[in-house]
Amino acid sequence: MKFTTTLLASSAIVGAGTLALADAHGNMANEMTIVSWGGAYQNSQLKAYVEPYLEMHPEVSVIWDESSNEAVAKLRAMNEAGNITWDLVDVVAADAIRLCDEGLAMEYDPEELLAKGDDGSSAEDDFGDLIVSDCYIPQIVYSTTFGYRTDMVPDGVDAPDDICDVFDLETYPGKRALEKRPINNMEWALLCDGVAKDEVYDVLATPEGQEKALAKLDTIKDSVIWWSAGADTPQLLADGEVFMGSTYNGRLYSVIEEQDQPVGMMWDAQVFDLDGWIIPAGLEDAKLARVKDFIMFATDTKRLADQANYISYGPARQSSAPLVPEDMKQHMPTDPANAENTFLYNYAFWADYRDDIDAKFQSWLAQ
């Protein structure tokens, strides 16, 4: 029964899809408002697929809005005002899940909206588990990991290569930069407090586990500078304000490769997260048709692989991986040498525990 319902539902969606497409060719909006993060990341999107798309469709114009970090709140406000001015929004996975929960993002069918992989695999298989929500179209895998000042490593000591070195103030004295939120920090603290990796979330779900994690963080609290913007840690590292700090791997890549700072990567226990598109719910037909046409192009195997030329984030499609340039591979969080010990952001856990643990974390911070 379940199977027939799904079959019926998907054929209905496909039917609607072909209808929309037929309608689309005659009637596609020529203006598209894309929301992204600005900076190097937005630039990689521009170079890898927006510019090529505009070359194919000179009649289309794209308006950028650099509001991704407050996209959830803004979309909710737009929805309440009944006036959605965005056509395509780039968000991290946790935000996509929330937007989907709130009914602010459109659910889609991967087989209809996304191109098949170059290797012939279906879109659903190609993206695999990375489609973490029915509304989410992943583009890249990035990771939150540590960078450290190579010139601040004490003499006679190896460079830090273990997550627990962050908590070891004796061997590695100096300030740390950590994000001003519980996510990731709590997991790392538990890992270094002797909790096995596959039990971290079970432990963190209990009040005792949360206490334990905070107690571990307490041991380095006085040496931590808490950041809230992704650019903070690179700046702190470049100025020598901190010895090591967590941030997005792409930011560290630009500190090391582009700005030539004495900074090294420590990939141990890096936390994978995703970045991708959502389509706001309730778009007009013409706008939706344009967005669908763009998405089909912008998330295909070649385009996602191209993006890796401009930023060190891994493409979300498996079929794109072989196309990533060799010299870029070593900087990818997904490169086997870097991905020996990794975490995948546990969306389900944090959707539930975020409010509770955040209250405790903030209260602990304020003490």
């Binding site: 959830v72 929330r98 525990y353």
Partner: protein
């Protein structure tokens, strides 16, 4: 003679007028007072008309959004709107008993969640309840997926019994009125005309009350929200479960009287229904998640079922609802009290340091020759023309441990290299950066007030024998107090609501309550809590303003002139 007569009448008239004790009359005979009032009213009205565009603009763009935002701090319709049947059924449940609710509640929950998940509202409710109870978010998401299976138990049995029940067309033939059926069959989906609104066949509601009421909800959803053709739409599995209830329930005896379309199939189904496999809703929900058969989720739903709640306000003073009324949160979750006090304390520090720095500058500006004063004034205003973020980031470079200030101090030998001062990412950083940013708001009113104090007063005081200090303290200072008052109010109120600067330079100990408000608005999406925190902040500011008025007097505030 006639002259004499005339003068007497004139005299009499004068006397009469003197004796007339009624109201004074205007030229047209109406009482003067009334006619004056009338003229004044007309003037007021035309004045009001003149400012009407501005007034309406302020109301629409300023007062209304604030009122709407503040209203969110108590509004809580989402629970009773999404789970109307469950909250009604829960009223009979004795929360203190420690038992889980009765079976009827679970059935109501099934029906509510089924409809909510079709309309994609269940996850929204889940995020709302997750603010109160950890885990509610995934509980509702999971249940939304699970409810389909519950109704399918009945759906499968009906469909196995007779394929008649599979098709939406048959359901519409049975339940829809003849007039509607002929309308909908004649309707073309892309014709542009609206879909004929579903109409129930006469008599159905009496024999199948529940089926009728849920089918109406289904029809409304398909026609108005999904905008699909109802005639071709297969019913929700929920419809099968309530149809089963009707076939086996109180009105089952009247089914025999039914003679409309599908009577044979209905009779067949009615006969078979008694032997159908039934669903135990409680067990079904326990299978979806064991949290449904524990009391916390039910206590939460019940506590938040009224349309208005004080929960957000309790939360913003570090309290929470519990079975025995409001109580303080555990020590390790309290934060807002600290933040409110810290915000007030630091705003006062910032105001004080602005007075200390701004007063001499105001004095110099007011006493220098105009040309030099103007140049200095440009320096005061310059920061106004620079982006706030640039100024704040500049402080980062200045104050950090490897920054300009520390480097200079180390170079001068004031501090040792290994004990550099922590000037940023703490309260010091916030106070320094915000004093700098808000200083012009103190200097400008001070300057404009000091400008009006004639220099001859000071000279007069000195020529009468006062020392410099006495002349300043007894003569000059009292006249500059209105400027201090105006500047302090501006700086204090501005700083109490600042959040960008504390976020960047404040670290953990230098952040304000506004940072939490911003977090709840843009990250956690808990707008109710943000609104409650904002309402408290607004009340505190108004309270302080009132106190200021009582102690200093608001008439004593001068922005200039």
């Amino acid at each position: 003679m006639s002259d004499v007569n005339n003068s007497t009448t004139a005299l009499e008239a004068e006397r009469a007028e003197k004796e007339y004790s009624g109201p004074m009359l205007a030229a047209d005979g109406t009482p003067l007072k009334r006619s004056l009032n009338k003229a004044l009213r007309r003037q007021k009205l035309s004045a009001l008309l003149l400012i009407a565009p501005l007034l309406i603009f302020v109301m629409v763009t300023f007062i209304a959004p604030i009122a709407d935002m503040l209203f969110r701090s108590v509004e809580n319709q989402i629970v009773s709107d999404t789970l109307p049947r469950t909250t009604t059924a829960l009223e009979d449940w004795d929360a203190e008993s420690g038992e889980i609710p009765q079976a009827s509640v679970y059935k109501a929950l099934y029906q509510d969640i089924f409809i909510a998940q079709e309309r994609k509202l269940h996850t929204r409710l889940g995020s709302r309840l997750n603010y109160e109870l950890t885990g509610a978010s995934s509980l509702f998401r999971k249940s939304g997926r699970g409810v389909d299976d519950i109704g399918e138990v009945y759906q499968d049995q009906f469909e196995n019994l007779n394929a008649f029940w599979k098709s939406g067309e048959n359901w519409n033939e049975v339940l829809g009125s003849d007039a509607w059926l002929s309308d909908i069959k004649g309707w073309k989906e892309n014709s542009g005309t609206p879909q004929p609104e579903f109409e129930m066949r006469d008599g159905i509601a009496e024999i199948f009350p529940q089926t009728a009421s849920y089918y109406t909800i289904f029809a409304d959803f398909v026609q108005n929200e999904d905008e699909d053709n109802l005639y071709e739409e297969d019913p929700w599995s929920l419809i099968y479960s309530v149809f089963y209830d009707d076939l086996t329930g109180d009105t089952a005896s009247s089914i025999a009287n039914y003679s409309g379309p599908g009577a044979a199939e209905i009779a067949e189904a009615a006969a078979a229904a008694s032997s159908f496999e039934t669903v135990e809703y409680k067990t079904a929900f326990a299978e979806i998640d064991k949290d449904w058969v524990a009391t916390p989720i039910w206590e939460t739903i019940r506590a938040y079922s009224p349309d208005f709640t004080n929960g957000y306000f309790l939360n913003s003073v570090d309290m929470q609802k519990s079975a025995d009324g409001p109580e303080f949160r555990p020590e390790n979750q309290r934060i807002y009290g600290t933040l409110f006090l810290r915000t007030l304390f630091m705003s006062m520090c910032i105001t004080l340091s602005c007075i200390l720095l701004g007063y001499p500058i105001g004095w110099i500006l007011a006493n220098l020759p105009a040309r030099t004063a103007n140049l200095l004034m440009i320096l005061v205003l310059l920061p106004f023309w620079t982006s706030l973020l640039v100024r704040t980031s500049a402080w980062k470079v200045m104050l950090q441990q490897q920054g300009v200030v520390n480097d200079t101090l180390v170079w001068l030998g004031v501090v040792a290299d290994d004990s550099r001062l922590a000037l940023i990412n703490n309260q010091t950083g916030t106070i320094i950066a915000m004093t700098h940013i808000l200083l012009p708001f103190m200097i400008l009113p001070l300057y404009s007030v000091m400008k009006t104090v004639p220099p001859s007063y000071l000279r007069a005081a000195k020529s009468l024998g006062a020392t410099n200090w006495t002349a300043f303290w007894r003569v000059y200072f009292p006249q500059s107090v209105p400027g201090i008052g105006a500047g302090s109010i501006l700086v204090f109120i501005l700083s109490i609501g600042y959040y960008i600067t504390p976020e960047i330079v404040g670290g953990t100990t230098g952040t304000f309550i506004s940072n939490r408000i911003a977090y709840h608005i843009s990250s956690s999406l808990n707008w109710g809590l943000a609104a409650a925190l904002g309402a408290i902040l607004l009340a505190v500011v108004l309270g302080l303003y009132y106190a200021y008025d009582k102690i200093v007097g608001i008439d004593n505030v001068k922005l200039g002139g």
